[in-house]
């Protein structure tokens, strides 16, 4: 329960509309899309300006309230869950696109602009904002920046980090920090913006973002390949890359995922196949034709069961759309979907699929695997029931063993979802005590009192 005086101060300084404290509202602002995690905040602020963010942070600091920033709550590592209660700052109402600069090819937005809204707005001007996380219809840009969200186009176009040019944010001491700008080059001092991207809301609260835009590809072609064996699909991915072809998208779905997605979208995906690859090449028409031919040849060489070419843009879009629903569609099968984000060097893909199959067998689990195969970024998802404690234990053992090998191969414990609450121990394993100590010192210098998004990324002393 929040002290009545604090609530009154907040209402007085920010207005009634910006302050939410009813139990039912707090309850539903205590989760994101991460399974099994929930903690209600004590109060929620909906600021409409940087100044309001500063005021809210000042009051929180005065009363030693932890602060957790939140967008649409679609994160997959618990980053926006107020694990120690306190104040949640929801940035959804700061949702204006402030400028699309066609001379400098940039767009400047408030923190809460929805990713797809930005994509559509710049597309109207003949420009392209490539990062397209699965939740792009509702995820916010600041959330994307804080988690360094990826998406289906990461392989060729990179991830959110590659498009952030400037950030404005409020630091835990209430001061404003502006970093980066519209200049293509900028080596003036430490690159704060690069530090802030992917910082999971632990260093500052972003209020404004300037992103880079590019011209859209003139042409694209979508191919769909089916496989009798998922390891062959993995080999196909490595071979395509080795042939020096970089498709814009190279997505994989295993049999379980294909069936769940088909249950929802009903577009005739092959239910009997062990795996499918969704591949898109884009660029200049001549290059697209050449690359599509190359991809098709490699797919046939490695032994794909069937290769299809999407007949038009509409069919291609419906395939990409279907892929985006994979995680949520897997949730049809079981009450709980535990999703991971393991990423390996692409040459290890086939071995990773073999490992997942072996561990699924060993721990007697149901696993659906999908992901950005071209990035080596897989989402093996355990379909389970959080009420079955034994099953949950086996699921955790499964991930434990998987990550051990992923790290041994030089992979990472998170490709695009972030560490958050869920993967703190795995991070320590990946970067070692020295790495964690440096990260903690950086955190300390931004947030000496530790009020900003506590309990994330690092295992706290005594935890």
């Amino acid at each position: 329960m929040l002290d009545k005086n604090i609530l009154e101060t907040l209402i007085q300084q920010l207005g009634k509309a910006a302050v939410v404290s009813e139990a039912e509202d707090l309850l539903v602002l205590g989760y994101d899309s991460t399974p099994g995690l929930h903690h209600a905040p004590d109060v929620v602020i909906y600021p409409t300006s940087s100044e309001q963010v500063q005021i809210a942070m000042q009051i929180a600091r005065d009363h030693k309230l932890p602060i957790t920033p939140r967008g649409s709550g679609t994160g997959l590592s618990g980053g926006s869950i107020p694990i120690n209660g306190g104040m949640v700052i929801c940035l959804n109402k700061m949702n204006q696109i402030l400028e699309i600069d066609e001379e400098n090819l940039t767009a400047t937005c408030q923190a809460g602009v929805v990713t797809l809204d930005l994509f559509n707005a710049v597309a109207e001007k003949g420009l392209f904002y490539p990062p397209d996380p699965g939740s792009q219809k509702i995820s916010t840009l600041a959330g994307n920046v804080m988690e360094d969200a990826g998406g289906l186009r990461g392989l060729k176009y990179g991830v959110t980090r590659d498009y952030v040019m400037a950030l404005k944010c409020v630091l835990p001491d209430g001061s404003l920090l502006s970093t980066g700008g519209k200049s293509v080059k900028d080596v003036a001092g430490y690159a704060f913006k690069d530090l802030l991207v992917g910082s999971e809301g632990t260093l500052a609260i972003i209020t404004e973002i300037t992103v880079k835009l590019i011209p859209p590809p003139q042409d694209k072609r979508t191919l769909l390949a089916y496989f009798d064996d998922i390891q062959i699909a993995g080999a196909a991915v490595s071979k395509i890359i080795a042939a020096k072809i970089i498709p814009s998208t190279m997505e994989i779905m295993d049999k379980a995922t294909i069936n769940c997605v088909e249950d929802y979208v009903k577009i005739g995906l092959p239910r009997q196949m062990a795996a499918l690859l969704l591949i898109e090449v884009d660029g200049h028409p001549a290059m697209v034709a050449e690359e599509a031919e190359g991809v098709e040849r490699i797919l046939n060489e490695v032994g794909a069961a069937e290769v299809h070419v999407a007949k038009d843009a509409e069919e291609a879009a419906s395939l990409a759309e279907a892929r985006r629903t994979a995680l949520s569609a897997l949730a049809r099968v079981s009450p709980t979907t535990l999703l991971e984000d393991a990423t390996v060097p692409r040459s290890k893909l086939a071995e990773t699929f073999a490992l997942i199959e072996r561990l699924t067998e060993k721990y007697q689990l149901t696993v659906g695997t999908f992901g950005h195969a071209g990035d080596g970024n897989l989402h093996p998802t355990v379909l389970c029931d959080e009420r079955n404690l034994d099953e949950m234990k086996r699921a955790h053992a499964f991930y434990d063993e998987l990550y051990e090998q992923v790290l041994a191969w030089g992979g990472t414990v998170s490709g695009e979802h972030g560490i958050g609450i869920a993967k703190k121990e795995y991070l320590a394993r990946q970067i070692g005590p020295g790495g964690v100590a440096v990260m903690k010192r950086i955190k300390q210098s931004f947030d000496p009192d530790g009020i900003l998004n506590p309990g994330k990324i690092f295992v706290a002393d005594g935890e």
Binding site: E22, A23, D25, Y31, S33, N92, L327, A331, R332, P335
Partner: protein, 434 residues
């Protein structure tokens, strides 16, 4: 019925299924499709938030509080979230069941209750009474308005509801039910026998629409049986949380139409169609499963039927006009019937079909929602009207009386040129008199 186990802070009868709430993995795909979330930006007024509230009630983390009750009724039950949900969560249905909980857990005062019971349990289940009440001076004006005026507070209707309710009333013709023959024979090559489910609002407020529906069906080669005893489908009862009366009505209609031994059970009201298609779940515990399956397998929206069997266009007269189409929520989201009406429109000779933006976004009618939340309803309606205006089409076509009332009223208020036509009215214009 077996004594059920109580689920958390829900009562045992008519509680949401725990599994249905657990199914939500909180991905948020529903958020951009929810009209009430678009209006408020408030998580608790989103499908994801509402399911989380219900889950908290089931897990004893929250009482069945006033806020939960409010959300159960603030939900439009438009089911857009059901269409958007890859996990198969049906937040609208969870909320509909919570409405029943709300009546069990915090009953209305005496006056409100007797009014509600009068409408839901006495008037609606009885087609004769309904028609008589309309004959002397029309439902809203005589029976409706006076009662509502006196009890509007008990029903928590919005402040401006009365002007709106009166303004929405179409010019009323005599109810259709007594006029329709029990059997209307097929014309041309016969394609089957349909049982026509004539909805209450259709017979009372849109008798001309359903007259056209029957005429079109006959012209398309169907014997049309219209059982006079048909009772209300139960949708208003589900909507207001009276599941018991809904079950009684459903049992009656199920029996009536199965006895009629028809190939299809057809309606031209999306609300009725959605309700009929849900009898299987509503009656799961009281009826034989084979009979329920058989009934479900026969139910079709009229647009769905005509598109699926193929519209016979030979002999149709051209209707030279342009139309746009508003998808009734209870057709596209609740029944998944979305392409078929468009295919029909494109098949009518002379008709130019113009797609509007956000065709499947609710119009803000949603049964009594539009009267309870008149300001919010106006905002939802305005969004729809601006999408209609952008098409510059001559007519706005839809296929559900609730949308029809709201859209016709909205177009008139806004001084727009379009009128509203049920798709069967348009098809009726193309269908020659014999």
């Amino acid at each position: 019925m077996n004594k059920k186990e109580k689920l958390g802070n829900f009562t045992a009868e008519d509680a949401p299924e725990y599994e249905d709430m657990l199914q939500c993995m909180r991905c948020g795909f529903c958020l951009p499709t929810c009209p009430t979330f678009a209006l408020t930006g408030r998580e608790r007024s989103s499908p994801r938030g509402r399911v989380a509230l219900a889950r908290a009630v089931a897990e004893n983390k929250l009482e069945f509080t006033q806020a939960v009750k409010e959300e159960a009724y603030f939900c439009l039950d438009c089911r857009a979230c059901t269409t958007a949900c890859p996990s198969g969560v049906r937040a609208g249905e969870v909320m509909e069941i919570c409405r029943s909980q709300s009546h069990q857990q915090s009953p209305l005062g005496h006056i409100g209750r007797s009014f509600r019971e009068f409408i839901l349990q006495r008037m609606l289940p009885n087609p004769d009474l309904l028609e008589k009440s309309m004959l002397p001076a029309r439902l809203y004006q005589r029976l409706g308005i006076q009662w509502l005026v006196r009890h509007s507070k008990a029903l928590k209707l919005g402040p401006a509801w009365i002007d709106k309710a009166e303004g929405m009333m179409p010019k009323l013709d005599a109810p259709l039910r007594p006029q329709l023959p029990e059997v209307t024979p097929a014309l041309g090559e016969k394609r089957g026998k349909v049982g026509f489910f004539l909805g209450c609002i259709m017979t009372l407020m849109y008798p001309e629409v359903s007259r056209q529906t029957v005429r079109v069906l006959a012209h398309q080669g169907f014997d049309v049986i219209t059982p006079k005893e048909t009772k209300c489908c139960g949708a208003p009862h589900l909507n207001e949380g009276d599941r018991q009366t809904a079950r009684e009505l459903a049992l009656f209609n199920l029996d009536l139409f199965l006895k009629a031994d028809v190939d299809y059970i057809v309606t031209d009201c999306a609300g009725c169609g959605a309700s009929l298609k849900e009898y299987e779940e509503l009656l799961a515990e009281e009826e034989d499963h084979q009979r329920l399956e058989l009934f479900r397998s026969k139910v079709r929206d009229v647009q769905e039927l005509l598109c699926d069997v193929g519209l016979r266009t030979e002999g149709l007269k051209p209707v030279k006009t342009s139309v746009t189409y508003h998808e009734p929520c209870h057709l596209c989201h609740a029944q998944g019937v979305s392409n078929q009406p468009r295919e029909l429109l494109k098949a009518i000779p002379g008709v130019e079909f113009r797609e509007m933006n956000e065709a499947s976004w609710c119009c803000g009618s949603a049964a009594t929602w539009g009267l309870k939340f008149s300001d919010e309803s106006q905002q939802v309606l305005d969004r729809k009207l601006s999408n209609v205006a952008a098409t510059d089409a001559e007519h706005l076509v839809t296929a559900n009386p609730g949308c029809h009332l709201q859209l016709a009223w909205g177009l008139k208020q806004a001084g727009m040129k379009q009128d509203v036509l049920h798709l069967m009215e348009l098809l009726g214009r193309a269908t020659p008199e014999v």
